[in-house]
Amino acid sequence: MYDTIGIWVGAFFTLAIYSFLYKENPVYRLAEHLVVGISLGYTMVLIYNTVILPKLLEPLFAGNHWILIIPGLLGLLYITRFIPSIAWLSRYPIAFIMGTGMGIGFPLTMKAYVLRQLEAAMVPLYESGMPWYEVFGNIVMIFGTLAALIYFFFSKPHKGLFFGTGSKIGIWVIMLGFGATFGFTVMGRISLLIGRIQYLLGDWLHLIE
């Protein structure tokens, strides 16, 4: 019973959203507003159950973690954002999260985004037993990376053999990459539609398995 009602309600709201394709209407507007309220309400419960209660209140009331008052108070400063005269106090917790996050991120980004990628770009063009299309692929990969980097190089005009031709090849490679992204994006959007149709035809109407 619970499941049946649930699926009917779900199907109703699914169709409510699709009605937007025909025309904007009150049912769509209702669905749109509901989702904003529910998702934030859900997050509130979750944060309370997973952080505020077990990591702040319980240790505090257990009495041996008084130090946790500091992050608690720092967090409460967010509220000052709503009192214009002391709104600047809300910058403190933001600064704490922002600064430490930036600091932690720096070496790790350097490692994952730069050094690892640099290392992986240094591959031999040919190793014994490689089919021709892989060798050709490696050539495209190395020269393509270089050319695309030239395209994003702002200190020199895109003229001459190196910068001119390089950036031109670069933009071609970038366009091939974007073409792939385009194709995959189309695939992704269709997949989401497929998911909904499976829900409507299968879970709701039982027309398909």
């Binding site: 209702l30 509901l34 967010y78 509220i79 403190y92 600091g103 970038i174 994006t185 989401l192």
Partner: protein, 214 residues
């Protein structure tokens, strides 16, 4: 006090965390472990900002009877109903275990279908845009569209049926030219992120302070 202290917090915090990475010593670990304990607590309160501004926006709408103000109730009621049902009256609808409460019903059978459907609207828009806006206006746009068509055909079973070269070419584009483009972008973005990290830590970039008075 209003600008200097936050900027100092950012700088001290940032440098401390950066240096900490290179020091394996136990003192540095103690700082780090404390930080791991504190950060989620501070971060959790950020939710107040979201809840607060949403409540303010919609109560204003209701009070001023602005256009479509009735719908604001559809935001406010579940916003405060969810915690009410989850924490204070977590009773079950279907009997038995706690998974079948009102709170879970709202999430599983309203939130999930609506959000999934919202995104699937894009499938319709992509079809429409394919016909009305995706133009091979220039050489570059033409390459892009050609690559897209090959990849699109290569990714679905019918590509295999049309000819083995289709999926193979699609995969080749993905594995080599696409990789080169994405790696170059990644390196560029990586440097961009690193530079932004530094600019924020050293107070060159201060936009994040904005919006709370001078």
């Amino acid at each position: 006090m209003k600008r200097t202290v936050p900027l100092m917090i950012v700088m001290v915090g940032g440098i401390l965390m950066m240096v900490q990475y290179f020091i394996p010593h136990q003192y540095s670990q103690v700082i780090f472990n404390n930080y791991l304990e504190w950060a989620p607590i501070v971060g959790a309160f950020a939710l107040i900002l979201g809840v607060g501004s949403l409540t303010r926006l919609h109560t204003h709408k209701i009070r001023r009877k602005a256009q479509n103000w009735q719908y604001s109730w559809a935001v406010l009621i579940p916003l405060f109903g969810m915690p009410l049902f989850a924490l204070i009256i977590p009773q079950s609808l279907g009997g038995g275990s706690d998974v079948h409460g009102v709170h879970d019903f709202l999430f599983m059978h309203i939130q999930v279908p609506i959000q999934s459907t919202m995104f699937s609207l894009l499938a319709f828009y992509i079809a429409s845009a394919a016909f009305r806006a995706f133009r091979a206006k220039s050489a570059l746009a033409t390459i892009l569209l050609l690559a897209a068509v090959i990849v699109m055909l290569g990714q679905v079973p019918i590509g295999d049926v049309l000819g083995k070269w289709l999926p193979n070419t699609g995969l080749w584009i993905l594995r080599y030219p696409n990789l080169a483009a994405k790696r170059a972008i990644m390196l560029g973005v990586g440097f961009g992120m690193l530079a932004t990290n530094l600019k924020i830590i050293f107070g060159v970039e201060r936009n994040w302070l904005g919006g709370a008075g001078k």
